[in-house]
Structure formats: C-alpha cells, structure tokens
C-alpha cells in the first residue's frame, strides 16, 4: 500500500517537537530564566496562526488535519496559552522549579493531545494519549521540592495511567480481532458484519474504561485528588483542563466515527457510572478543607456532567459534551491562576478556612473567584450555566429525562462546596491583612481574559457552542458522504 506523506500537514507538530527538544537542550546554558516562557509563548502564538494556514488533509492514513481536529486544537492552544502564563507566574515565585524543561514537558504533553485528537486510527490515538500523559507524570513529581507527597501523587497517576493503557490495548486487541483493522473509518464500515455483538460491546467497555481512567470517572477517580494536590498549581490546571478536554475529544472522535450505530447501547452501562461520578464528586467536595482537593473532587463531577452529553446518544450531545469541557477549561484555568496568586501571597491560602474574610483585603481577586465559582456551580449569567443547560437539553432530547433530573439534583449538592468557599471569603471576619503582592501581567492576562470569556459565553453561549456543533456535523458529513 502506498503511503502518502504530506509533511505540510504536520509542520506545526514538527515545530512543537523541535521547540520542546530545544528547551531541553539549551536550558542549562541560558542565564535569563524567563526565556523559556517567552519562547513557549511565541511558539504557541505561532501555532495558533499556523492553524489557520495549514490546509486540511491527511499525513498518512492515521493522522489528519480536519475540521474537528483543527477546532479542538484551537481550544487546546488557547487554553495552553493561558496556562503557560499561569506557569510563568507560578514558577517565578517558586525558583527551584523554574527550569525550561517544565515548558518542554508541557509542549510534549500538548503534542500528545494534538496527536490524540487528530488520530484516525486507534494505535496512533493510543500513542497520543500516552504522550499526553507521560510528561504530566514528571510535571506532577516536579513539585517534590515543596510537597513531600508529590512523588506519591505522580506514582498513583502513573499506575492508573498504566492501567488505562492496558484497557486501551485490550480494546484495540478486541477490535482487531473483530475487524482486522485499527482504522476508525474501516471499523465503522465493517461494523455491520460483526456477529458477536457481546465481544464488540466488551471491547467498547474496555475503551470507555481506558478513557474514564484518564477523565477520573467513578470508580477510577481515586487518583484524581491525590495527583491534583501533589502537582504544582499550573500543572493541576493543565491536568484538569487540557488533559480532560483532549481525552474527551479523542473519545468523542472514536465514538462518532467508529461506533455511532452503537451509541444507543452506551447509556446502558454509562448511566450509573456517570450519575455516580457526579454524585460522588459533589458529595466528597463538600467536606474538603484544601482548596485544590475541593476543586479536584468538583473536577470529577464536571467530567461527569460532560459525559451526560455522551449519554444523550445524540450527535449534538457529543458536541455539547466538548463545549462543556471547553467552558470548564477556561473556568478552571482562571481559578488556578487565582490560586497561583494565593500561593504567591501565602501558601496557607490554599486551605479554605484560611481564606476567611479575604474579600476585604483582595476585593477584585475575590470578585473574580466569585465569578469562576458561580460558573462552576452553574448559576447564570456565567458560562457554566449555559454549558450545563446545553448538556441537559441534549439529555432531554435523548429521552433521558430521569437522568437529567437526578443530575440536576446532584448539581444542587454540588453548589454547596463553592458557596462554602464564597461564604468564608465574603462573610467571615478577616483575621489579619495579608501582605500585598504585585499582580503582574502574568497574572492579569489569564485571569482577566478568562473572566471575560466566562461572562461573554454566559451571555452569548452560541458563539462557541454552535461552532463546535457545526464542526462535528460538518466533519461527519464530509467524512462519510463524499465518497
């Protein structure tokens, strides 16, 4: 079989590899510590521009630049751009961690995310997901200087990550046994020829297990809070935002391309998992005193909300699941930018009771955190409400009204942890005025932009939601109807 290698399709990926490798090579020789940040920033800006210049097409049969991957890439780049600012802000205040390799690892991880969402066959997708995860293990462990438990969290994530790989390979093996191919489109074309539906569903279950480990769905959620707490703050944002968005987008790609006729079978085993994820995430978040740990549990619940879109078994439910994750990405990036600022002022502020009365000392930052937390709780006029609304809408359209009611009731429980933080910040007395810390552009850019995005998407949600939804439809119709 003749393989066509269109290198123009992957020149931005090549740039990422070169750039990240360069950071590893020259880091010890550069005295100017901010160089890596500036380098990464320009690389990302270049990638965003390159995104609009790259023609659609395939590099071999397993990697394609198309509507879907380009759209997701845009969100990944923009999200990473904000997170890189948070990295800069955080690392500036934690000099022992301030090495160019950190940015290099982030870039490699981002590359993994891009490969995962651009992949057209399961093996390439697996490689992407692995490349997405492996740098993150190191990034989590990098925090060992400040937190003794940090390597423990990294190791936990590493071990469950291996488990995820095992399930992924199991799924690939089952599909290869059934279809004799790794290619997503060929799997779809051969789907009707399969007589052993039980084995097929088993393979699908293994695939979902692999992804639910990456997304920390119940019962594979245990690593989440430990890893989140162990990681440096920007890495946590990366883990909660980018990794989850990439994993979900890859999963949606597999499901819509290869297994769309089976989408009505998915809810059978997903409903209890998703509802339990939302419930357990929300309930366990209630009692957490550590701010990051609380956000980690809430992150579990939010992955559950996104999966509600997949439960709906409708194509736009899938699109809205991605939209939910995009909104969550921006919200959580802003939240962690503020956490990074707290870290700069005083590490004690990462504990919720210590936030007491902080709104008096830091009024504008408290207001931003208020907006982000209400967005996470899903109260209008923030983006979080509209994202939830879209997901629930697709659920009802998919005839899952009861699931929708239960999930919404759980979201009432889920509002409490955020309200508690706000209560402590706004309604409790201020014990002592904290020392002032300067804001700096590296703090202002990610927070102000994400606040703006959260409010604008709350008022005009169709800006992105419709875009994602149309992308998915266009992508599917071009994939299947032009031959």
């Amino acid at each position: 079989m003749f393989l066509q290698l269109n290198f123009q399709q992957i020149f931005s990926e090549i740039f990422i590899i070169i750039g990240a490798s360069l950071l590893f090579l020259i880091d010890r020789f550069v005295k100017f510590r901010s160089y890596a940040f500036i380098f990464t920033l320009f690389l990302l800006l270049f990638l965003i521009v390159a995104l609009f210049l790259t023609p659609f097409g395939k590099f071999t049969n397993s990697f394609s630049v198309d509507f879907y991957s380009a759209t997701i890439k845009l969100f990944l780049y923009v999200g990473t751009l904000f997170i890189v600012f948070v990295f800069y802000h955080f690392l500036k205040n934690h000099p022992p961690l301030n090495y160019g390799e950190i940015y290099g690892l982030v870039l490699f991880s981002l590359l993994g995310a891009i490969i995962a969402v651009s992949a057209l066959d399961l093996v390439t997708m697996y490689l992407g997901i692995e490349l997405l995860s492996i740098p993150v293990y190191f990034l989590i462990a990098a925090n060992g200087r400040y937190l003794k438990a940090s390597p423990e969290g990294a190791l936990k994530y590493f071990i469950v990550g291996c488990l995820s790989s095992v399930f992924f390979w199991l799924a690939i093996g089952v599909f290869y046994y059934l279809f004799g191919t790794f290619d997503l489109k060929n799997i779809f074309l051969n789907l009707n020829t399969v007589s052993q539906k039980g084995i097929l569903l088993f393979g699908l279950l293994a695939l979902l297990t692999a992804f639910s480990i990456k997304m920390a769905l119940v019962p594979f959620h245990m690593w989440g809070p430990d890893a989140y707490q162990a990681a440096p703050i920007p890495v946590t944002a990366f883990l909660a935002g980018i990794v989850k968005l990439a994993a979900l987008s890859a999963l949606v790609k597999v499901l819509v391309i290869a297994f769309s006729p089976l989408r009505f079978d998915l809810p059978n085993f997903l409903i209890p998992i998703v509802l339990l994820t939302i419930l357990i995430g929300n309930v366990l978040a209630i009692k957490q005193d550590d701010l990051i740990r609380m956000l980690a549990y809430s992150s579990i619940a939010h992955a559950g909300y996104a999966f509600l879109g997949i439960l709906s078994a409708e194509f736009y439910g899938y699109a809205f699941a991605i939209y939910y994750m995009v909104v969550y990405l921006f919200t959580i990036t802003g939240t962690f930018a503020i956490l990074s600022y707290f870290c700069q002022v005083n590490r004690a502020y990462l504990s919720i009771p210590n936030l007491s009365g902080l709104s008096k000392a830091l009024p504008s930052i408290s207001l931003f955190l208020l907006i982000f937390l209400f967005s996470l709780a899903g109260v209008p006029p923030t983006a979080g409400f509209m994202a939830k609304f879209y997901v629930f809408l697709s659920l009802v359209k998919g005839q899952q009204v009861l699931v929708g009611i239960l999930a919404l009731l759980f979201s009432v429980i889920g509002a409490y942890p955020y309200l508690r933080v706000l209560k402590i910040m706004y309604m409790d007395p201020l014990p002592q005025t904290p020392r002032k810390a300067s804001y700096g552009l590296s703090f202002i850019i990610p927070t102000y932009f994400t606040v703006f995005i959260v409010i604008i998407l709350g008022l005009f949600p169709n800006l992105i939601a419709e875009f994602i939804q149309k992308t998915l439809f266009l992508y599917l119709s071009l994939l299947y109807f032009h031959f």
Binding site: P363, G404, A415, L419, Y426, M427, A465, E466
Partner: protein, 487 residues
C-alpha cells in the same frame, strides 16, 4: 407608542451603566458610590414611570415587544414585552431598588461598593424576570438573582446570616431545578422557548400535569407556599433591611407572577386539576402563618410570617380563576410589596438605633418616637387591610372573587383577615403603647434618607387605597385574556 426604540431594554440594562461606573470608582469614596447608585436607580425609576404612562391598558396582548436572536441554534430569543400582568411590577421593582439604596444610606458601612453593585445587579435580574417572554431568558434572570441575594443576605445580614443565606440559596436552587427540566422538556416537545407561541400549544394531560408540577415547585418555593416556606422567615429575618425589602417586595412576587404568567395560560387543564391542592395549601398558609405570627418575639420574623400569610391570599386569588380574584391577587402582590417592604424599612430604622429586633425590648415608642409610630401605624393598618388603604382593596377583591368560585375556602381564608388584625395590632400594642421603657428615650430622630425612603410608600398606600381603578384597569384586559384559556 414608541415601540421600536427599545424602552424595555433601556429600563432593563440601565443599571449596567451604574455597575460599570462603580467598577472604576475608588472603594473608599463611599458618598460618590452611593450617589451614583442613587442617580442611576432614580433615572431607571422614571424610565419605568414613562413606560407606565405610555402603556395602553386596552390592549390585551404584549406591548413594547422586542425580539432579537439570542441563541439561534436553540431557537431562543431575546424577547421582551409587557402586558397588564407585568406592567405594574416594573415600577415596583425599580422603586424598591431606589428606596433600598436610600434606606441603606447610613446602615451599610462596610463593603459599600460591593453592596451597591449587588443591588444594581439585583435590579437588572428583577426587571428581567418580569419582562422576559422567552422561557430560557426568564430562567436566566430567575436564577441570576440568586447571586446578589446570596451575597446581600450573607455579607450584610444579622447574626445567623450564613445559615439563612445558604438555606435560601439551596432551597431556591432546588426548586428551580424542576423549572429548568420542565422548560427543557417543553422545548423538547415544541422546539421553542417563545411564550407567545407556547400558549397556543397543547400537551397530553399526563405530561401537562408533570410540567405543571415542575413549574409549581419552583414558584411555590419562591412565593413561598406552605410547606416550602421555611427558608423565608430565616432569610427575611437575617437579611439587612434592603435585603428584606427586596425579598418581600420583589423576590417572592416573582413566584406569584410566574403563576399568573406561566402556570395558568400554559397548563390550563392541569391548573384546573390542581385547584383543590393549591387552594388548600393557600388556606393552610394563611391560617398557619397567621397563627405563627402571634407567637413571634422577633419583629422581622413576625413580618416574615405575615408575608407567608399574605402570599397565601395571593395564591388563593390566582387559583380561584375568576377575573376579580386574579386582579385582586396581582394588586395584592403590589400592595404587599409596598406595605411589607415599608414595614421592613421601619424595622430597619429602629434596628439601626437600638440594634435589637426583640419585641419585648420595646414598649411605649409612640411617646418617645412619635413620627416613627405614625408611619408604622399606617403600614400596620394597611397590612391588616383597613378600608382606605391599599391592603383592603387587594384582600377584598381576592375574598370576593374566591367566594364566587369556592365559598368554603373564602370563609376559611377570611379568618386570616381577623388573625392578621390580631397579630398586627398585638405587635403594635407591644412595641408602641404601654409604658415607655427608659432606654427608649432620646432616640436619634429620623434622617432625611430614611424619610425619603418611607414617605413614598405612605403615598402609594393611600393612592392605591383610594383610587384603585387606575391600577385595576391596567390589568383588566390581560387578565381576561388569561382566563380565556379556561373556556
């Protein structure tokens, strides 16, 4: 008419100017902050009076309609309009915010900027609820109001404010969940959020009942109806004066308004089916909350329970399903907003001086604080429903209308009037008569801002009480329109 120049949008979003201005003002300049908030809300109030002036009471349908694409993919519109049912709530909402700013002029001393930001934000959400003709937009404003109210009760409230505000938030959030599901389900069935299209649609009876219950739960929590009223005494009691006034004046009216606007026209069959349930719950609320008032030893808690009782009259009137009672119910909502809002302001005035709400702390205020006693008397009598005050008109119309459709319920509800007289006069006796207590001498006289907040309320008490025809005429044609769905 001036229908094209976006008067409703102007009224709705005008406070946004204040919000943006306040963001750029140094938080130490309290006077500037208060003045800006005052001017913005004053202009907004005049704009709503302008709207009232140009409103044509003979048209049963919506006026000043604005319809623009909001979320085209969902077929959801930025759709505003007023009719006879909602027209009176707009000036009420803007007036309430205006007076809240006046009454908080001296009593809010810390986080002044945040307080006025929250008030202006509340104003937008309140007006939005009454203007929205798109179910999604309605829900948007309906929920958005929780954020500022959560903060207003929780930050500037009394000693148990945190418990109260969490209870308030979670209670109403819980109720709204069912409203959201019902709205989504309606959209699923008919593919639109547009109120004007939905009123002509039909549902199978089983679905209609479920949708009705979903809406009802959200509205009943807000109204609040017995037995989901328990958040209200806590929230009212612990909120700062302005918070109590907004809660009593507008927030709980949103529930009653929602019933007239959505429950009756959208689900006429289910409404008819559930009449006995709602009438019984209303009468229980009237009598139970009225009796509970007699036991209270806290000024604000007593008025809060009286709200539950008065709102029982409103739900009773709405579900009597005849034009007299519904008009009475709408008017009674306005009246209750004015009278109870004013009573909370009065309590706020005395609380700022003595820092206690315990009734037995007071006594003989009539001789030590005579002007204040006179104001309080007016509102007490209006709350009881003395002829000549606005309370009489509302309660009389409700009872009259209810008597036409259900005599037993009317008779039971009428006992609530007597209980009302009992608890209000008993309260007045305990606080204002008897021998003056020594610590109540030498109270600071009422300040200009306080007088400016209370005197307009006195004016409206007598205006509606003496000339209700103008207000009733405004709603006649729209109410008749609603009742057409029941024939």
């Amino acid at each position: 008419m001036g229908a094209d120049f976006g008067l409703l949008s102007l009224i709705l979003w005008f406070p946004l100017i204040g919000i943006i201005l306040l963001f750029f003002i140094d938080r130490k300049k309290n006077i500037t902050i208060k003045t800006i908030a005052l001017i913005v809300t004053l202009i907004d109030f005049f704009l709503s009076l302008y709207l009232l002036y140009f409103f044509n009471p003979n048209v049963p349908s919506f006026q000043f309609v604005e319809k623009k694409n909001w979320i085209p993919f969902l077929n959801s519109y930025y759709h505003l309009g007023v009719d006879g049912i909602s027209i009176l709530f707009i000036p009420l909402a803007t007036l309430t915010t205006l007076l809240c700013i006046l009454i908080s002029w001296y009593s809010i001393k810390e986080k002044v900027k945040e307080f006025y930001l929250a008030l202006l934000f509340t104003n937008i959400a309140m007006v939005g609820v009454f203007l929205a003709l798109d179910l999604l937009l309605f829900y948007f404003f309906w929920e958005a109001i929780l954020i500022p109210m959560y903060l207003i009760i929780g930050i500037w409230g009394g000693p148990r404010r945190i418990y109260s505000t969490l209870k308030f938030f979670l209670y109403t959030f819980f109720g709204s969940v069912f409203l959201l599901i019902a709205i989504i389900y309606i959209y699923h069935l008919h593919g639109t959020f547009d109120y004007q299209l939905l009123i002509s649609k039909n549902y199978s009876f089983a679905v209609e009942k479920l949708l009705f219950l979903g809406f009802l739960l959200a509205f009943a929590v807000k109204v609040p109806m017995w037995p989901v009223h328990t958040w209200l005494p806590d929230a009212h009691t612990e909120a700062p004066t302005a918070g109590s006034v907004i809660l009593a004046g507008i927030l709980i009216k949103m529930g009653g308004y929602g019933m007239v606007r959505f429950l009756l026209p959208l689900f006429p069959n289910a409404s008819q089916y559930f009449i006995p349930l709602i009438l019984i719950l209303s009468v229980i609320a009237i009598v139970y909350a009225g009796l509970a008032c007699l036991w209270q030893d806290d000024l604000k808690r007593l008025i809060a329970y009286s709200s539950v009782s008065h709102m029982g009259f409103v739900t009773l009137g709405i579900f009597s399903l005849n034009p007299v009672a519904i008009k009475g119910a709408i008017l009674q909502m306005i009246n209750h907003g004015i009278v109870t809002g004013a009573l909370f302001m009065c309590v706020g005035v005395i609380y700022d001086r003595t820092h206690t709400r315990a009734i037995n702390y007071y006594g003989g205020l009539a001789s030590t604080f005579p002007l204040y006693a006179a104001f309080f008397m007016v509102f007490t009598l209006a709350s009881i429903g003395l002829p000549g005050t606005n309370g009489f008109i509302g309660e009389f119309l409700i009872l009259l209308g209810t008597f036409l459709s259900n005599k037993v319920m009317a008779a039971l509800a009428a006992s609530g009037v007597i209980i009302g007289a009992a608890y209000m006069l008993y309260l007045y006796k305990r606080v204002f008569f008897e021998k003056p207590k020594s610590h109540l001498y030498g109270l600071e006289p009422m300040k200009l801002a306080e007088l400016a907040a209370i005197i307009p309320m006195v004016f409206f008490v007598f205006l509606i009480g003496l000339y209700p025809k103008y207000f009733l005429d405004l709603m006649t044609s729209s109410v008749n329109q609603v009742l057409l769905y029941f024939q």
